[in-house]
Symmetry: D2
Subunit: 351 residues, 4 copies
């Protein structure tokens, strides 16, 4: 879960300007993206026939060091659902974590796009799947027509609790997937944050580890309306191009989506932004050491806070989610002002 | 049909700058929209919880003079499909023209969003439905469980051939719909062009004439990525908000969609842009009088051209679609340079 | 169309016993089937694990002279829809005749089972598709993501108007299908009647002519509740077994379905029954010569009758459908009493 | 779960006739049903236009003491899925037990029929839902568009482990459902066994306790291929009649389905058969007292058995399922021979 639609508990009467830590979705758009939108603003071919859209395959193939098919798409939910629909028949299933975004925060998008496939839910600390949990779930199924059979695994990196799968951890799941004949999808709404933390090659975290399709997030990381679906098996893209149109996701002025993505790939803006968000979260984590629910490996901080403590922080202008009673979620954005981060760290330390 | 995906027959070697008349989707974004995007670029609440998104209902209620529910959406295809899904059960049908965009250019989006409802196809010159044709189609159905029964009618205004339904013409269909218990949807990808031509109140062309839901197009008319669904029966919106999320169309930074729409409503930019496009088309039509396949009532011109004539125009730098053999489609955009329009009119006159 | 759900215009006050010619669905069950049901009435393995169900593949493989996968199924509608779902993705289409049962009489079953695929409608006299009509339809489609692309052709043999495709006619369509990469389905609700007329090997009318899947009808021909899906590409069966379960069509006492089918294959009861129905229809056709709308090649007779003539026949106790104004449909069943056939022939001759 | 498709561990070489306790689906058909099929074997109107089908509403309205709409259907899976589709939109959810048949044994039929609705899984001993568990699940959901919202509850009576909900227990769930605006469905594959145990009026266990739709099972209880869907809100039936056709479940010779059901209602054959099965299970339970995993309240017995003990029973000719390691499921049928029951009781006692 990324807190989709959780109630925003800002004090509307806040006497001081609010300091927003409730979602990286709430952040602004980075200047490179704004500039790219302006630069793209001239007549061009419609849909994805323009030069920018047509260059995505090459740009991502270069980034990943292998031939990929890349499609822009308006949301991470659509990226995930279209990826899964490319891998799973309606009578099959996807294995994912019980707290995965696709299960808990997408209003049934996978079911809609796949035509009614099931999500089979496994457990794991910090919303992280381990091979053992996947194996146990798969082994519990009777292999006959009375039960839906899994055809794919979906993992989220960084996870919904801000944990990062290492290349080795992904590869272990990739091996399992291959052994069982399952496809492997990675929900990378915060893929940039994971790569920034790991310092690894994007390839090591994806296709070299057995990932077949990646939802590569840009919006939380400084984009406006464009995410990317990366198929490491380019053959999966052909039907997806039809499905994207059929879902109303083939924008008629698609060049403005491509422009955003290319602007963030250029000069590794995507990594720069993610590093900034991660560093802010790390700074807060340092101040909140024994309150951490999970290690902080990306840009999300889950803190144990009493109601009184949460209220005290809010009174100082900090906005964040009450995740569950006694736990707050704070998310740092690519553009989080350093002063806000300092202030929050200090305020937590002073609790 | 609006020519979705038709081959762009531009001469890539064109020695002179191309003059684009092949699609209003290819046009740029108007300055008011660009400015609004920049103005919206600060942190705010995610999804549609921001102030801009929350003001859409009021803005459109004011425009239409009645209480409506308004949702931003990324594409006309999604606007149409979500509107129809709000009106039609999976075992039912939509009556539309055989050349309607929803039938011919959306890759089955209505079938996807409705869960497999059928489109029942009627005929009519210029892709325009007349009550008689609808009645004849409805009367041909056996009213039993062996056939899908219609639950809605969908018309396109302006039509796929640039014809305009008047308020009276819509009302005649609205009456028929009410009498038969059918909902009425209007695909208004070029609604602005229709209103600009008619000079009527938007209300007269929609809810006062029996329309229950309108896909209100902004992208072809100067927007970037935002269309609107207008429900004149606001109760239809509740489920649609879930369906929009489920379809991956609830953008996480939705304020950038709302901003585009509000910028075009403000000061009637939507009408100004549409009038410009219409005027350009009218100018060309005047020069092409006896070649016109249909009266030019919006911003599209369908011309009879021999292959040699089409080649002659292309040699002069004009880009357009070969609609069917012997017929060309030329579309004028909100920002079509006057010089291009003059040049095209002259070139056609000189054929 | 087979007249699904058309109003039964029997005179309820008929002073003489009614003579039913309105549907072969209304006929009884042949004695071999009733005996087989009784013989199967002992405990056995559930679903399709019983010996009878397990023997279907072999029985049909022998009949068709090639290895097939055969599944019992409760209705022709389900047989058709499951066959098409095995061939067509949700974003694709099936080419069929505008009056095909799958289009006109199954309440959208193909759309339901395929997840919203489209039926693309071709024309042809007597609901019979010719290669030219299919080619013209296919050629009219733009091959891009804006339009659904066909993945299969479905033909009905005997057609909804009782015409029979010869092996050569099927092979011509099969060649076209192969050339265009389309699968070929045959709705054989009256396959038995077609084979009985043609006297050909079942193989010649199906897989040797390019058919990939056949809905093999038994119910209209003397069965009770069991039809068969025959996959000539046995690989198509694997997913269909899941889809059948998922659709609630995997009967828990499936042996009673298998028993019906095996009883009708045994000793060629299926051909005997079909020949009887065909002969009855031929007898009536002989008497009705210049009134025939179509040649009578199976067990259906379409007659031009004025309202007064229709009333006159009904007054004599004959029951049938008014197909469209001025046209009556009369269907002969496997158990149509000879006296009824004689009486009808005489009554028509006397009009 | 009812063990759908679990491996049948009969010894094929069994030197003595097998004694089948592995499924009531494996039982034969009771003589009243066979007689009714024979009696119905004459020409009649097709589909559900015949007199038998048309009398179902009245027959079940009499049984339940209120006006209901009743539809025959070929399987319990289809009965469940059609019932749920009448109550739940594609973007909504059904609350059920994690081991409910609709979740674990129907290959995703609810997802297929509802167009991708979710099953939300609650826990409870013996696959029995308690109001507290339902409340806790419902309360855990955020009520916004990011999560699917429940629209119905489904319970199974008798449960998948042979436990029976009393009228009061159902009413407690019915009250909860009404309070939360949820519909209530009962999977009554073994409804007869529950009523036979409770000795209550069928009305008390259903509509008087808040049930809106019941899947009323006949096949496990002596029928051949006919179950019934009972709508206590008859308005739910209208769309279901279309959905039934669309799913290929409107049998063309539907009178043979109606005949089975009417034969079992007549003279309370359904209760007589269920009482016999229950009594057999009770007899076995008496002998197996301290091995029982759950109280035996219907016709299923879940026993703790070591591998050696299970083998010992099988060596004596008893057939049953290994449910999970260390647990066997034994099911008694309506026609279980008394000698087999005695022998099994004795064999268990002698372990």
């Amino acid at each position: 879960m990324t807190g989709g639609g959780r109630v925003d508990l800002r004090a509307p009467w806040a006497p001081i300007p609010p300091m927003r830590f409730f979602s990286d979705n709430a952040a602004g758009v980075c200047p490179e993206v704004m500039a790219a939108l302006a630069a793209a603003n001239h007549p061009d071919t419609a849909y994805d026939g323009d030069a920018l859209s047509q260059s995505l395959d090459a740009a991502f193939s270069a980034l990943f060091g292998t031939e990929v098919a890349a499609l822009w798409i308006s949301s991470g939910t659509a990226a995930n659902a279209l990826s899964l629909a490319a891998m799973v028949q309606p009578h099959q299933a996807v294995i994912c974590h019980a707290e995965a975004h696709i299960q808990a925060d997408e209003c049934g998008a996978p079911e809609f796009y796949t035509g009614g496939a099931k999500l089979l839910l496994a457990q794991g600390a910090g919303a992280k799947l381990k091979p053992d949990a996947i194996e146990a779930l798969a082994a519990s199924l009777r292999q006959n027509v009375h039960q839906v059979q899994p055809a794919a695994i979906s993992i989220t990196n960084a996870t919904e609790y801000g944990l990062v799968y290492t290349p080795d951890e992904v590869a272990a799941i990739g091996d399992l997937a291959k052994r069982r004949g399952l496809a492997l999808h990675m929900d990378g709404a915060r893929f940039a944050n994971a790569v920034a933390t790991l310092g690894c090659a994007p390839a090591d975290l994806t296709w070299r580890a057995g990932v077949d399709a990646l939802s590569f997030g840009f919006v939380k990381n400084g984009g406006m309306t464009a995410e990317a679906i990366i198929f490491f098996r380019p053959d999966l893209a052909a039907a997806t191009r039809y499905r994207r149109k059929r879902a109303g996701h083939l924008l008629s002025k698609g060049r403005f989506a491509a422009a955003q993505i290319l602007a963030m790939l250029d000069g590794d803006v995507w990594l720069r932004n993610a590093r900034a968000a991660n560093a802010a979260a790390a700074h807060i984590a340092n101040a909140a050491h024994d309150r951490l629910l999970h290690p902080v490996e990306a840009n999300e901080v889950f803190l144990r806070l009493t109601g009184a403590e949460a209220a005290a922080l809010r009174a100082q202008g900090f906005e964040f989610y009450d995740w569950v009673p006694g736990v707050a979620r704070l998310v740092c954005s690519w553009d989080q002002p350093a002063a806000e981060v300092e202030a929050l760290a200090a305020a937590i330390g002073a609790l």
